[in-house]
């Protein structure tokens, strides 16, 4: 079993829809949780960073961490075609403090 599981998709939704992206993990020591957006042939761009449990909102993006369920989510409201990209989750903590443990990434397609 991988430490971080993420559905690779692709996930295709119409413009304006609410998008939900998720990752599950197995290491209860993880404390730092991140979401990245990666456009084709570009480096990943940090979208959201959360420490421990709870919600964090930034514009149309909301990150949620549920440590009891070992589950993190990224919500995108009013999705736009420019949101079409691959979204990667990453986390660290405990023995993995020097490393980030990555999900495989979910390819998101927003249809105009």
């Amino acid at each position: 079993q991988k430490e971080v599981e993420q559905d690779p998709g692709p996930l295709s939704v119409p413009e304006g829809a609410i998008v939900s992206l998720n990752c599950t993990y197995s290491n209860s020591a993880f404390q730092y949780f991140m979401w990245y957006r990666q456009y084709s042939r570009k480096g990943p761009e940090l979208l959201m960073y959360t420490y421990s449990s709870g919600n964090k909102e930034d514009g149309r993006f909301t990150a949620q961490v549920d440590k009891s369920s070992k589950y993190i989510s990224l919500f995108i409201r009013d999705s736009q075609p420019s949101d079409s990209a691959t979204y990667l989750c990453a986390m660290s903590g405990g023995d993995s403090n020097y490393q980030l443990i990555w999900g495989a990434g979910t390819k998101l397609i927003i249809k105009p």
Binding site: Q6, P8, Y32, M34, Y36, R41, K42, G43, P44, E45, L46, Y49, Y51, L88, A90, S92, G93, N97, Y98, Q99, L100, W102, G103, A104, G105, K107
Partner: protein, 111 residues
């Protein structure tokens, strides 16, 4: 503000040739530095990381090596490239043990 530079953006090299990819970070000191490789449609594979000058940790045994000659400089090298070394190489830095920031990547094609 901090910035990370990675070059070149694209590289085509023949099998058996050497490789040197360079990454530099500006606006910070003593960053944790990382080299990743990403296969098409796949996640990130950690190759090397460094927590200080001359300190390199290797995660995957392969045809590559890394060096950190200066605090904010990280170099990925190979003496003889293999076809299997083709991929998208990413350099990243972290201020501590929190979020990472990436360069724009180098697309390497070994022919």
């Amino acid at each position: 503000s901090q910035t990370i530079h990675q070059w070149p953006a694209t590289l085509v090299q023949p099998v058996g040739s050497p490789l040197s990819l360079e990454c530099t970070v500006e606006g910070t000191s003593n960053p944790n530095l990382y080299w990743y490789r990403q296969a098409a449609g796949r996640g990130l594979q950690l190759l090397f990381y460094s927590v200080g000058i001359g300190q390199i940790s290797s995660e995957v045994p392969q045809n590559l090596s890394a060096s950190r000659p200066q605090d904010r400089q990280f170099i990925l090298s190979s003496k003889k490239l293999l076809l299997s070394d083709s991929g998208f190489y990413l350099c990243a830095w972290r201020p501590g043990n929190t979020e990472a920031f990436f360069g724009q990547g180098t697309r390497l094609t070994v022919v």
